[in-house]
Homo-oligomer: 233 residues x 2
DNA sequence: AAGCATCTTTACAAAATCCTTATAACTTTT
DNA sequence: AAAAGTTATAAGGATTTTGTAAAGATGCTT
């Protein structure tokens, strides 16, 4: 990513595509547009963009399929555009490999912010695990050997479940994680129906790591979808 | 080989077994005895010794078969005890994977010398402690040669198991060690289910090294995970 | 053979964590 | 504005783990 970051926009509605192209270009990005999933895959292979923004409903190959196909060959960040209320689709998209979503109609500022967050996420550090037992993300400092967690330099003691949960959040900082994903990660694949666990433990984590648990700053909830860990202030 | 080297003695004659056990123990080895080949294989799997001394004629599984079975799963040194004159057996044993033999009746000194030679052979490359036989961490001062432990300058007497346990803690200061890891380190490979041992011995260690055993300062417990040695005050 | 030290096993109280439930606040939909 | 669904939070009980003492077992020493 030396010069401009390359953004591939996938949308079959010409107006929206035009708005996105101009909006992103004026903010310094290199943009190309594809009108459906299949041509998106072609452009992806030819042009190798740094990030994909895609609509969900499209001809030929819809956004869901596109996510899966892209995930099979790349770790590139994917932001999905969904119509407000299509919660089902959002969740499916995130489970299919999308990293974030933006509801239509959307403000350009919000999209740009989420876009920057995703680009920052991948360029940050590609998981420095094997070499060092220490993980530093934002205000969080996690030592896997001593199992210790520092937030802004202060140690917080976490129970095993809380610890597992936090690890999963921090290792996927910036990504929206669905309830399903989180439950499977911490409780194992079969407990994916008992959403109550998750709420309780997220609450407990917030009490321990948030300056103001009632107005979270790190562990943000994405209503009807899941949670997102935001390491920045 | 943290503490003592582990020697597995295999002999069905009780007198000889006893002589070997006491002789080896007085020279600082950790010894277990098996009365036949089959139980020897069991003990081997459980305890993971550093060397095997075995008779040739035994019930169930004779020394020759034992050599072959051990060689199939391990590079561990094997010393065979044979009755003087059974030259043919000696050759067969060596072909079956034994590393050395000692004729009965044997002198303890000879056996010890050959034993040291074999142990030296396998531990030839990694000799990290040769430079300094003394380990100082926080308030703890441990001399590997004399097997003595000082806490804040005061000597504490530890039994062999307590010593092995403490060594493991001090050498991994700050890290969280799981129950599994600790059990495997002190009791050997497959004693990883008997969590009761660990609780009892940690309690005993605390009584000996902690200023206030009921509120530990060095040996901290990480509930549901294991223990952590904290050298700082 | 008796005493001693160590290791193993057992039992139970104390502590910590996890799960469950209930209720209130919030968001979206009708 | 009400209904339905979701989320936040506290509090209790259930379950598991941990601390501790003490009895039994084993081998060593005298």
């Amino acid at each position: 990513m030396n010069g401009q970051a390359r953004i591939l926009v996938v949308d079959d509605e010409p107006q929206i595509a035009r708005v996105l192209r101009t909006g992103l270009k004026t903010h310094g990005y290199d943009v190309r547009v594809a009108a459906d999933g299949l041509s998106a895959l072609e452009t992806f292979a030819d042009w190798q963009p740094d990030l994909v923004v895609t609509d969900l409903s499209m001809p030929n190959l819809d956004g869901l399929q596109l996510c899966k196909r892209l995930r099979a060959i790349s770790q590139i960040p994917i932001i999905v555009l969904s119509v407000r209320g299509e919660e089902r689709m959002k969740v499916e998209a995130l489970d299919a490999g999308a990293d974030d979503y933006v509801s239509k109609p959307f403000g350009m500022d919000e999209l740009l912010a989420r876009l920057r967050a995703q680009l920052r996420r991948v360029s940050a550090t590609p998981k420095p695990r094997a070499s060092s037992p220490i993980l530093e993300v934002g205000d969080f400092h996690i030592n896997f050997e001593s199992r210790s967690v520092l937030v802004k330099g202060l140690e917080v003691h976490l129970t095993p479940k809380e610890y597992d949960l936090l690890i999963h959040f921090v290792q996927n900082a910036g990504k929206v994680l669905t309830h399903h994903t989180l439950l499977a990660a911490v409780w194992g694949g079969n407990y994916t129906e008992q959403g109550e666990y998750l709420r309780v433990f997220v609450g407990q984590l917030r009490k321990k790591i948030e300056p103001t648990p009632s107005t979270p700053r790190y562990l943000l909830t994405e209503p009807w979808v899941g949670y997102r860990f935001n390491p920045d202030s």
